[in-house]
Amino acid sequence: MPRQSRKSPVQHIYRAFAAAPAFIATSISAAFSFLIEGLVSIVDVIFSFIQRVIGIGGMPYVFVLPNLLIFGIFILFPMLLNFVYAFTGGTEFFPGQRPWVGTNNFEVLLTCGNFLDPNTCREDLFWRAVYNTTGYVIAQVSLMVVLSLITALILNRKIKARGFFRSVFFYPVLLSPIVVALIWKWILQENGVVNGVIVGLGYDKLPFLVNAGWARFWVVMISVWASMGFYTLILLAGLQSIPPELYEAAQIDGANPLQSFRNVTLPLLMPTMFVVLVLSLIRAVQVFDVVFAFTGGGPGTATLYLVQYIFSKGFSSPTKQYGLAASASLLMAGALIVLTLVQLLLQREEEV
């Protein structure tokens, strides 16, 4: 029997499908290459002219210009403008019409009878958001880092179908936050499949989306579910860059697996861990879309986080308090910068 016929029909079908996009891609790119070739030549004429006028020394400015324009208009300028909003009051949208109020917005945000009790604060919603976010960040980042590390360590072993498992863990990362929220809302709703299993086991239904504690718990779980694959990939790449000779050397020196993990893997993985920590912290502080679609901040204010507070102050509440939104976002940016600097310092210390 010839060898090829041993291939299963599934493989044939898969191959046919896998070939299709390549075929489409090549025909599209063939069609476009004409177009692009023409475009490049036209732009070349323009750029050659510019180059003749300003000389080679001026060309880098031409190349950075488009990026700088977009960056300046839509990122840098708004960042500066944010300060104007933060120090002006009223509900007017245009900065020119807004009265200067000095640090009043910050005073409103930061006035508290007792900082541990949001009820005594002038802007209690802000403080609820601060505490909710803090709790969320601690729980989410620590759980996610631990789970991604375990997953990466396991995927780094000699296992079969590693590519498949890696893809499965990564797949939820691609899903949009809204899709993630809807999937889990469907699973956790009162008559959902989780409650179905619980009732099947003989217990009572649990109020997953109605109870504050449960809602917070599931918000953490869902965001870990949706993003741990990404950090697993980064950690896996870090693990694979550790030279295998080091493990052999440790083994020869009589180290048991636990010791070689502590003395070889962990120290060499620290730079990657640092990247993971910085990225996941920054993203956890900014949590918004999943929660917005999943609980909408509720029940009550149980899952109201900082970005949603800013969003609701500036965009969705009937009286738009842009000043409060802007100063809250400045405080958040400050917290982010401090967090990153602290991590940088800690890492530096570790290296010394």
Binding site: Y61, S167, S329
Partner: protein, 351 residues
């Protein structure tokens, strides 16, 4: 039995699977269930009828009641297995139900007498079927094609713009020494830490002044100059040897020619990674389009889906169908490109 176990756990090199291997596989299989189970459940649920979907406890597969079309009745009649008075069972079609009494007829003999039984004595006949009516009906309420078109326009245009603008800037910042180079680079890197969500209000003002609110341009352009992408490309381009550029210059190539014919082809791996990121960012972006777009004919899929779930709070059969449709394109792309995507992201470590 032990031989089977021995066969299954046999490994290359003659070593048997040990305890830690078994734990690893158990963990991975649990992982597959946790990671993939919700998606499978979503897809299965999206085929359920509106009656089946509110059933508790839910069933795994989309069951639906069999029906039969009988002349003289406008609607197909549902089929039941009925226990008759003499103890025998028959398959009958239900004509109507009044209180506790059901009136049924024999589908083979539609003009025969109407049989009246207690509703307790009949059980619906069901079979698993993957009907598309949730998809068809929700498509009529949910402007899927409009949202899809907007999402595709935004994703494609934004990705092309991102690639062009950032590769040009990265080229300048990596291959030339010019005044202000460090300043530009540092300012951009320092904004890496400050996310868009922090400057929502002023960016919205700028968009308004430019006249781009309720315009897809307002979604496409602002995020195009991403410091992340610029940094990624610059780091890659630094590894391209300068000699190549110098010899091209001696041959009389213009700077633009050098950019398009030397730098871009050589930076292809980094451009591919940025393409993947950009598609992912733009396709899944929610907060930004939500703020810029308020007219529903401009909504992207994510914004459309969110407002759809707000309108139809309890009509899960429609919401689920549209959720599946929304996650389909990116899943198909992932199925074909998963190796490139996972290795690409692993090697650059950014998102």
């Amino acid at each position: 039995m032990s031989q089977v176990l021995e066969f299954l756990t046999r490994r290359r090199g003659g070593k048997r699977m040990d305890f830690t291997d078994i734990i690893s596989y158990v963990y991975l299989i649990l992982g597959v269930i946790v990671m993939f189970g919700p998606i499978v459940w979503l897809v299965l649920s999206s085929f359920k009828t509106s009656a089946e979907i509110v059933k508790f406890p839910p069933r795994l597969l989309p069951w639906r009641q069999d029906t039969v079309v009988i002349e003289g009745y406008d609607e197909p009649l549902p089929l039941y297995e009925v226990t008759l008075e003499d103890g025998s069972t028959a398959v009958l079609a239900q004509v109507r139900r009044i209180g506790l009494e059901a009136q049924l007829i024999d589908p083979n003999d539609p003009d025969g007498e109407v049989i009246r039984v207690n509703i307790e004595d009949r059980t619906p006949i069901e079979s698993v079927s993957f009907g598309l009516e949730n998809y068809v009906e929700s498509m009529q309420r949910f402007d899927f094609m409009v949202y899809l078109r907007n999402s595709v326009v935004v994703t494609v245009a934004a990705t092309l713009l991102t690639l062009l603008v950032n590769s040009m800037a990265a080229f300048a910042l990596s291959k030339y020494r010019f005044k202000g180079r460090m300043a530009i680079f540092l300012i951009m890197i320092s904004t890496l830490m400050v996310p868009l969500s922090v400057v929502l209000v002023p960016v919205f003002l700028v968009i308004n002044q430019v006249g781009w609110n309720n315009n897809l341009l307002g979604v496409i352009v602002p995020g195009a100059a991403t410091p992340t992408g610029m940094f990624l490309l610059r780091q890659y381009m630094l590894t391209i040897p300068d000699d190549l550029l110098d010899s091209a210059r001696i041959d009389g190539a213009s700077e633009w020619r050098i950019y398009t014919q030397i730098i871009l082809p050589l930076a292809r791996p980094a451009l591919a990674v940025l393409t993947i990121f950009s598609v992912m960012w733009r396709w899944n972006d929610f907060l930004w389009p939500l703020i810029v777009l308020s007219r529903s004919e401009l909504f992207t899929l994510q914004v459309g889906l969110n407002s759809f779930q707000g309108e139809l709070n309890v009509q899960w059969h429609y919401i689920l169908a549209m959720t599946v449709v929304t996650l389909l394109p990116i899943s198909v792309i992932f199925a074909f490109l998963q190796r490139n995507i996972t290795t690409g992201i692993a090697t650059t470590g950014m998102k």
